[in-house]
């Protein structure tokens, strides 16, 4: 078995593998900067909750129209944005702390979503909604994913400066006339859009993988924003490629394989970072 047949042939021989690869690359490009900002804002949990918020809408779409992608995505977008709105209102007027309401949204989304899919579909349908089908991405799905990724990257580029300032000094942004809640809402809608794009490939359980894991791994290596974003994109692409190869050669589900590859990247990064910290500490205690 040559290197070519292991690393390249699966993609050169099968169109569905190429589509899956392009989808993973597009998702990595959009998710890298978005996930970096999400973690810098200490909102990793929010990303996770929003990935589940997509589910009830997608489930209703499924119940109404089967697996028509446009309907699934529109449904997911609607419930995702509804949860963003409720979260924004909740933090503004609610007596509840945000983490409490996040937990409620998280479980409510899964509960409603699974219930609705079960009413109309089989267990296999449920698996598809939960874990996605990256190898079943056809041309319309690919176009949708790439289009969403392009929109996310473009909007992010336009408002990156205020988003970055808001991440660490929201009061400064507001004294300068920037609207805190508007930027926050736009940012969260971008996250929902990215998750809707990832939904087809990764399902609601794993849609947060390209968003959060590569960005978390990048934080172990880089300090500055530029390298953080670049590494996140790179790690996301590498995990997508490696996961698809593993899934092809070992005949295992592709979404979970990509998730495991991303988790591996994170584990190695975290270990490397921990060993650096340890080495510095040892050097510091050693008498000179």
């Amino acid at each position: 078995m040559s290197l070519w047949s292991i690393l390249v042939a699966p993609f050169s021989e099968y169109a569905f593998m190429r589509s899956a690869l392009v989808a993973c690359m597009a998702l990595a490009v959009a998710s890298g900067p978005l996930g970096t900002l999400l973690l810098l804002r200490r909102m990793g949990l929010v990303g996770d909750v929003l990935s589940h918020a997509v589910m009830p809408g997608a489930a209703v779409g499924f119940a109404l129209a089967g697996s028509a992608l446009a309907v699934l995505s529109a449904g997911g977008l609607i419930t995702g944005i509804a949860v963003v709105l409720l979260m924004t209102l909740g933090t503004r007027f609610g007596a509840q702390r945000e983490d409490a309401s996040l937990a409620a949204f998280y479980f409510a989304s899964i509960g409603v979503g699974v219930l609705v899919v079960s009413l109309r579909g089989t267990n296999l349908d449920l698996m598809h909604v939960l874990l996605g089908t990256v190898l079943a991405i056809d041309l319309p799905a690919l176009v949708l994913i790439v289009a969403i990724a392009s929109v996310v990257v473009t909007v992010l580029a336009l408002i990156f400066r205020p988003l970055a300032i808001q991440s660490f000094d929201p009061a400064f942004l507001r004294t300068m006339g920037g609207s805190d809640s508007a930027y926050r809402a736009i940012f969260l809608v971008l996250v929902v859009l990215d998750l809707v794009a990832g939904f087809q490939a990764f399902g609601t359980l794993l849609a947060g993988v390209p968003l959060l894991l590569p960005a978390a791994a990048a934080r172990c290596w880089a300090q500055r924003i530029g390298p953080l974003v670049g590494l996140s994109i790179g790690f996301g692409m590498a995990a997508g490629y490696a996961g698809l190869l593993v899934s092809y050669h070992l005949n295992v589900p592709s979404g979970p394989a990509i998730a495991c590859a991303a988790a591996l990247v994170y584990a190695v990064s975290a270990l490397a970072s921990a060993s650096r910290v340890l080495a510095t500490a040892l050097n510091a205690t050693r008498p000179s």
Partner: protein, 263 residues
């Protein structure tokens, strides 16, 4: 500390004189009223200390003037300055997440934000302008460090440098000297005086009554309502301080006052 920077901005500065008028200003959060029916004027070019016990509404008042919280009743009128570009607000340090990956120089350069906006191009003179500001606060050697590596006192200096870059007609400082050593606070106090000399309208919330007596011509004594507002000497009388829930100040300007500032 080196000599004043921003010489290039001196011409435009003199034309902008910010005057802040409060009319029956009432501000609150949820059920709590933090500032009640405060009326008065921060005249253009004035230097005012805002003094009061913890929870007296000092921060809330500054937030309201900075536009961070809307008045519940009454109004704030700002004349002679183009808000928000002409208003600099220095928050208490704990409101900023210092783990964010940004260098000291970049952080200070953000002061120009109001004139650049979300999309504007960063002008080539921004970097020297930020470096000048860092030099003025004695941080120029740490320009390339990350914000998270600074000590509390150094971070406060960086915040002051950002205010310098903002070059605003109205400057609001919220407890800028809390928790820092005497040398740093003396340096920063000199900057406050410089801003006053340059004709900016400066309001400072602070606790140290000796500093207030020594440096600040005007004082607003706050205990949710304005207990007194005017010349410092007539404001900080023992009776009024008791009314504001603060202990009495030293009897008359003793020798201890002189260490705060050389004249």
């Amino acid at each position: 500390m080196s000599e004043p920077s921003n010489r290039d901005a001196a011409g435009s500065r003199l034309r902008r004189r910010g005057c802040v008028t409060l009319r029956e200003l009432t501000v609150g959060y949820r059920e709590r009223v933090a500032v009640e029916a405060v009326s008065g004027v921060f005249a253009a070019g004035s230097l005012t200390a805002i003094v009061g016990a913890n929870g007296a509404g000092k921060t809330t008042l500054l937030h309201a003037i900075a536009g961070l919280v809307a008045p519940r009743r009454g109004s704030i009128e700002i004349a002679g300055a183009e808000v928000p570009a002409d208003l600099a607000y220095l928050p208490q340090s704990d409101s900023i997440d210092r783990d964010f990956p940004i260098s000291v120089l970049e952080f200070v350069a953000l002061g120009r934000w109001a004139r650049i906006g979300a999309l504007g191009r960063v002008s080539p003179e921004l970097r020297p302008c930020a470096m000048n500001a860092l030099r003025a606060v004695g941080l120029d050697e740490l320009a390339g460090r990350m914000l998270g590596e600074l000590s509390v006192g150094q971070f406060r200096r960086a915040l002051f440098a950002r205010v310098i870059v903002q070059d605003a007609a109205i400057v609001l400082l919220d407890e800028p000297f809390a928790g820092i050593d005497a040398a740093t606070s003396a340096d920063l106090l000199r900057l406050v005086q410089r801003w006053h000399d340059e004709g900016r309208t400066v309001m400072v919330a602070l606790h140290d009554l000796e500093q207030v007596l020594a440096i600040f011509p005007e004082t607003l004594l706050l205990a949710r309502k304005a207990i007194a507002w005017g010349e410092t000497a007539t404001t900080l009388t023992p009776e009024k301080l008791v009314e504001a829930g603060l202990s009495a100040p030293p009897r008359g300007p003793g020798p201890r006052l002189r260490l705060a500032m050389p004249s």
